[in-house]
């Protein structure tokens, strides 16, 4: 079924001209009319903060929300390695086309050409904007901007600020946002969680938010609502995401009619610090940039319990360099992760548990000197030392893959609008640009592209039509009825008083997801796991124990609500992974692989974006397909050999 509902609204014309021509043809909203319009922005990470600031600069009134106590603390702050842009400052043959091509190929041909081209096209402006804001990017001695390379590409186009690129970019966007808060164009609501979307005549016209300090449920109306609420990696319980990252906002949107796309496309990052014990609450990423100069290896002998310095060179298997000579340690994330799992599952893993591989800097230190290595990766080495108590300058790091990023998300058209009119989604919360696998340093690029350079224009396609309709107010009965539903959920959670803590239920969900819908999947496991998640949902509602009251700070209540949404998302992820009977990008189906264990894509049957439509409580969702049209590139089997 190729659904008519999913009109991607990709403009006509040549790939190179689409965005420029489209942008100049977009309907304008006059300054006077902008003044009259309110936009609600949920989330003030890179995507949300940049969008809120830009919309306010253009004259719109913005109400922005985040659940942390300051916009500066959004999950984006933790991004380490860098941000891509096709500047070709290194004169190594980079171009907009090459960045576009790398992203399409890296995503294993499961993303839209037009969106990805636009992303590559505006990438350069992002760097200019951030530099102008005073973002202290790394520089060369001559004073120009420095670059590094990242996985999955052969040019050097990644801009960075030591190992804290996300922090510096977010602080830049936060400063732009702060400036607009100061002018009064943005009203900021920190410690507020959006708990539902309010629809009026089928259009998104407001939200219900819970004040996380007083517990009060508030009604907010607007001309349009934008979700910039990040990804859902925490469905796996253990991930590299911040503890509070959640799917709740996107999930409420889904249940109000926004379709959810490619939920099973979840990225496992190859270089994280391995799990150390039961109490583990999250996993720590070691930036992928480390793969530039670090070499990954395991012993050639099964179950080798020697310490790494006792394993002689000729007994080391640099398996990425062996299997993928062209890209070596810089193969894309999905490939690097699966290769690590393959070695560990086959019994060659390092460390006490055998669930890790070495990432070794000895050669880099020998050739470049410790100072250069330290200048590039100092803070990452320090972080590793703090967590493990080991010194990576002396002995190799031990790493293992961990859940890191979610390519799936709310379906959006070229204007970044979901299937609910007036409801937009930007940044990691939408599905738009990374297909089945995201390249390193491209999430920051996408978040800021959406926020600074795309949404502020495309939102006009909707708002220009709304200028004549009356401004919806919170007096509308839809607000009261939606608020009542939220009250009932809170009441249900608090009055249940069962025996299971939220944490234990979340952990259980995480294990089901990781074991069956993680780095590799198969039909039998997916079928079994779908039943398990369904059971868990029943257990949750019959047995969860949430202490405390609703009218004060109650972190357990916040968590419980988020976990209940994660459980439902888990079910849809299983449906999606079952439906996609091919291996592509991060989605590896054991039944569909080549003889040498590479992913086997099936373009004949699966060349589509899966989009799931909510069909009601305890009913499987409906699948809609957006067929992908490749006009410029020809999908080929990805090869990094």
């Amino acid at each position: 079924m190729n659904s008519k509902i999913l009109d991607s609204k990709i403009p006509s014309g040549s790939l190179e001209r689409k965005w420029t021509d489209y942008r100049s043809s977009l309907p304008l909203v006059s300054p006077a009319n902008k003044q009259k319009q309110n936009v609600i922005m949920i989330g003030t990470g890179l995507a949300g903060a940049s969008a809120a600031a830009s919309l306010a600069e253009m004259g719109y009134n913005v109400k922005a929300f985040c659940f942390q106590d300051s916009p500066r603390r959004a999950h984006s702050i933790a991004a380490q390695g860098g941000i891509n842009a096709a500047k070709n400052y290194q004169n190594d043959g980079d171009s907009i086309y090459r960045l576009f091509y790398d992203t399409i190929k890296g995503g294993d041909y499961r993303s839209r050409e037009a969106n990805v081209y636009r992303l590559a096209e505006v990438s350069g402006n992002i760097i200019d904007q951030c530099v102008a804001q005073g973002v202290p990017f790394a520089r060369e001695y001559g004073g120009t901007l420095d670059n590094r390379s990242f996985g999955g590409v052969q040019v050097s186009r990644t801009f960075y600020a030591r190992g804290q690129t996300g922090q510096q970019l977010l602080l830049g966007a936060y400063s732009a946002l702060s400036r607009q808060i100061n002018t009064g164009k943005v009203e900021m609501f920190t410690k507020h969680e959006m708990v539902d979307i309010v629809l009026v005549d089928g259009h998104a016209k407001g939200i219900i938010a819970r004040n996380l300090v007083t517990g009060e449920l508030e009604k907010h109306a607007a001309s349009a609502v934008v979700l910039a609420t990040g990804g859902y990696s925490n469905v796996y319980y253990l991930s590299t995401n911040a503890m509070g990252s959640n799917v709740t906002a996107a999930w409420k949107a889904y249940k109000r009619g926004a379709m959810f796309s490619n939920p099973c496309f979840t990225q496992i990052h190859p270089t994280c610090i391995p799990v150390s014990g039961e109490y583990q609450s999250k996993l720590t990423l070691m930036s992928e940039s480390l793969r530039n100069d670090g070499r990954i290896w395991v012993s050639k002998n099964k179950g080798d319990s020697r310490s790494p310095d006792q394993i002689p060179e000729e007994e080391r298997d640099y398996y990425l360099e062996r299997r993928y000579p062209a890209f070596g340690n810089l193969v894309p994330r999905d490939i690097a992760s699966r290769a690590a799992k393959e070695r560990c599952d086959a019994g060659y893993g390092a460390g006490e548990t055998g669930q890790s591989v070495y990432l070794d800097f000895k050669d880099a230190i020998d050739t470049m000197g410790q100072d250069t290595v330290s200048a590039r990766y100092g803070n990452l080495f320090e972080m590793y030392g703090k967590i493990t108590g080991e010194n990576p300058y002396k002995s190799p790091m031990r790493i293992y893959p961990a859940v890191h990023y979610t390519m799936g998300g709310l379906w959006v058209d070229y204007n970044l609008m979901t299937t609910v009119p007036g409801l937009f989604s930007i940044g990691e919360s939408n599905f738009s640009d990374h297909g089945a696998n995201r390249l390193g340093a491209s999430a920051l690029m996408q978040g800021l592209a959406d926020g600074y350079f795309v949404l502020p224009y495309t939102i006009g396609t909707y708002l220009s039509k709304e200028i004549n309709s009356d401004m919806v107010s919170t007096e509308d009965s839809a607000f009261d009825s939606t608020l009542k539903e939220s009250e009932e959920t809170i009441e249900k959670l608090l009055s249940n008083q069962g025996n299971r803590t939220v944490e234990s239920l979340h952990k259980e969900l995480g294990l089901i997801m990781w074991n069956n819908c993680g780095m590799s999947r198969n039909q039998e496991d997916l079928d079994k796991a779908l039943k398990e998640v369904d059971e868990l949902k029943k257990t949750f509602w019959s047995d969860v124990k949430v202490p405390g009251r609703s009218d004060s700070i109650n972190k357990e209540l916040e968590k419980a609500w988020r976990v209940s949404d994660f459980i439902e998302l888990g079910e849809v992820m299983m449906h999606d992974a079952s439906d996609r009977k091919e291996s592509c990008g991060a989605h590896f189906r054991e039944e569909y692989q080549t003889e040498d264990g590479e992913a086997l894509r099936n373009d004949e049957e699966y060349n589509y974006v899966s989009s799931w439509e909510y069909a009601g409580e305890n009913v499987p969702p409906n699948l809609h397909k957006e067929i992908l049209n490749f006009e410029t590139v020809t999908p080929t089997q990805r090869s990094y050999k």
Partner: protein, 250 residues
């Protein structure tokens, strides 16, 4: 190192801003030394919930030392005993079996306690809104390489910009001064050409706002630098003071 620890925690419990709080003692047995301090609180909270008690409220998000959410004094020191380390990155192998550990929120009038270890640090945001930015609208920026910046200057700016806004400096200062926080932002911009045009308004705006929010004055004790988990230097405070005086006489 994998010997389990038996510890006693004395944690500040306070229902909300309007009520007074007190320390409550909790024994915690069999602590794995590889846990982080926040994971220790997680484990204790699970136990409290199962026993029908209210879990301890504390702020946290990234658990990687970068978001600045976690904020607590451990044995009287902001973020605990290990230098350049946030509470979320403090691991239990830094403690001994049998230790008694006190845990309390930041103590500063400008950071009212909301519950247990959670304080209201929104004053920091308001200071930033009073000038912590370069006024450049989206889309109006010149090419990124148009203005070369000396590598050393870029590093200087970065070092100041590495502040995570956690508030440890305020909490450890006997005057509850926010000087380290404010000066770090000012120093970042004054190292860069982008920051120059608005230098004067910025320093006046941010410093005046800091006073208005009730933060105290700096008397150069250096306690802030000593507890800063990101090693922000007190030299920035010198830069701030010079800029401020210059702005006043200009």
């Amino acid at each position: 190192m994998s010997e389990k620890l038996n510890l006693t925690l004395k944690v500040w419990r306070q229902e909300d801003t309007n009520q007074s709080g007190n320390f409550v003692t909790y024994p915690v047995a069999d602590v794995n030394p590889h846990m982080s301090f926040l994971e220790l609180l997680d484990v204790l909270n699970e136990k409290l919930i199962k026993e029908g008690d209210d879990p301890i409220a504390f702020e946290h998000d990234c658990r990687e030392g970068i978001c600045g959410s976690c904020a607590m004094s451990i044995n009287g020191e902001a973020h605990g005993p290990v230098k350049s380390t946030t509470a979320c990155q403090l691991h239990m192998f830094n403690f001994k079996d049998g230790d008694t550990i006190t845990v309390e929120p930041w103590r500063a009038n400008s950071f009212p306690i909301l519950k247990d270890l959670v304080t209201d640090r929104s004053a920091f945001d308001r200071i930033m809104q009073a000038g912590g930015y370069v006024s450049v609208n989206t889309g109006s920026a010149p090419d990124g390489n148009a203005i070369p910046i000396e590598k050393d200057k870029a590093i200087e700016a970065f070092n100041a910009a590495a502040c995570i806004g956690c508030g440890a400096c305020v909490s450890s200062c006997k005057n509850s001064s926010a000087s380290l926080f404010v000066s770090a932002k000012l120093a970042q911009y004054s190292a860069l050409p982008q920051g120059k045009p608005e230098q004067k308004q910025r320093v006046l705006g941010m410093v005046n706002k800091m006073d208005e929010e009730g933060f105290g004055h700096c008397t150069n004790t250096g306690a802030c630098e000593a507890t800063c988990p990101k090693d922000i230097s007190v030299k920035n405070i010198g830069i701030m003071n010079r800029e401020y005086l210059k702005a006043l006489v200009d």
